[in-house]
């Protein structure tokens, strides 16, 4: 139990820092668009990678537990929901697209990562 908590904590700490870096980088490229492209990219790529490591690495492997922890911290559900709410006050259709397409593509990306 303690080992799990420490692995998930360390992985999430590293994953959060990667997300911060990627968000800053992507916001400079997509600064003109209202669409939350940074979180969108992070969540879809993180879902793909989580499917991939689960498909490739043996169960119970330490490396799998570590990658799962990093990707858990890298991706974010809370920002996804809050960006949807914020976007919906100005651009309802775009918010709806972000909300639904993120979920569908995220699940699809995890599936593709898992089966390849």
């Amino acid at each position: 139990m303690i080992k799990t908590v420490l692995i998930v904590g360390l992985g999430a700490a590293i994953g959060s820092l990667i997300r911060f870096g990627v968000t800053n980088g992507l916001k400079q490229i997509f600064h003109k668009t209202a669409f939350p492209a940074a979180t969108f990219f992070i969540n879809i790529s993180g879902s793909f990678l989580l499917g991939l490591v689960n498909g490739q690495l043996p169960k119970n492997a330490f490396t799998l537990a570590f990658f799962v922890a990093v990707l858990g911290g890298y991706t974010t559900f809370s920002t996804y929901m809050n960006e949807t709410v914020q976007l919906s006050t100005q651009k309802k259709i775009l918010a709806m697209i972000y909300y639904i397409v993120s979920a569908l593509l995220g699940i699809l990306a995890a599936l593709i990562g898992y089966v390849i």
């Binding site: 139990m1 799990t4 908590v5 420490l6 692995i7 998930v8 904590g9 360390l10 992985g11 999430a12 700490a13 590293i14 994953g15 959060s16 820092l17 997300r19 911060f20 968000t23 992070i42 969540n43 993180g46 879902s47 990678l49 989580l50 499917g51 689960n54 799962v68 922890a69 990707l71 858990g72 911290g73 890298y74 991706t75 974010t76 559900f77 809370s78 920002t79 996804y80 929901m81 809050n82 949807t84 709410v85 914020q86 909300y99 993120s102 979920a103 995220g106 699940i107 990306a109 995890a110 599936l111 898992y114």
Partner: protein, 128 residues
Amino acid sequence: MRRIFYIFLLGFIGGAMRGYFTALAGPNHFAATVAINLIGAFVLAFITGALPYLIELSDDLTIGLSVGLVGGFTTFSTFSYDSVNLLLNHKIGLGLFYILISLIGGLLMAELGTHLGHRFEKGVDNND
């Protein structure tokens, strides 16, 4: 540099909390992930909307709390992978329920937190 330190430290705490609740839930880890994501959706709205009116926070600490603590606590990748896992294992009903409760519940919690933030904002204005 302080910002990086806050994100790392608070990301560790957020992730450790998620790891603890998930491990505690054992076979019910799906339910734990739903609860974590819904709570996190509310808390993030509270931190960015209401908290600045309650206590003074530096930008570095606010980013540490939102990106590290809540970002490390909630997870989108596990949501996606859990959904795939349930659907591939022919638990179609449970899989669809997991997806819908996460999406609808998460949005409602973020709405609730945002409204609470607006109330704090107005409360401060009225006292001026």
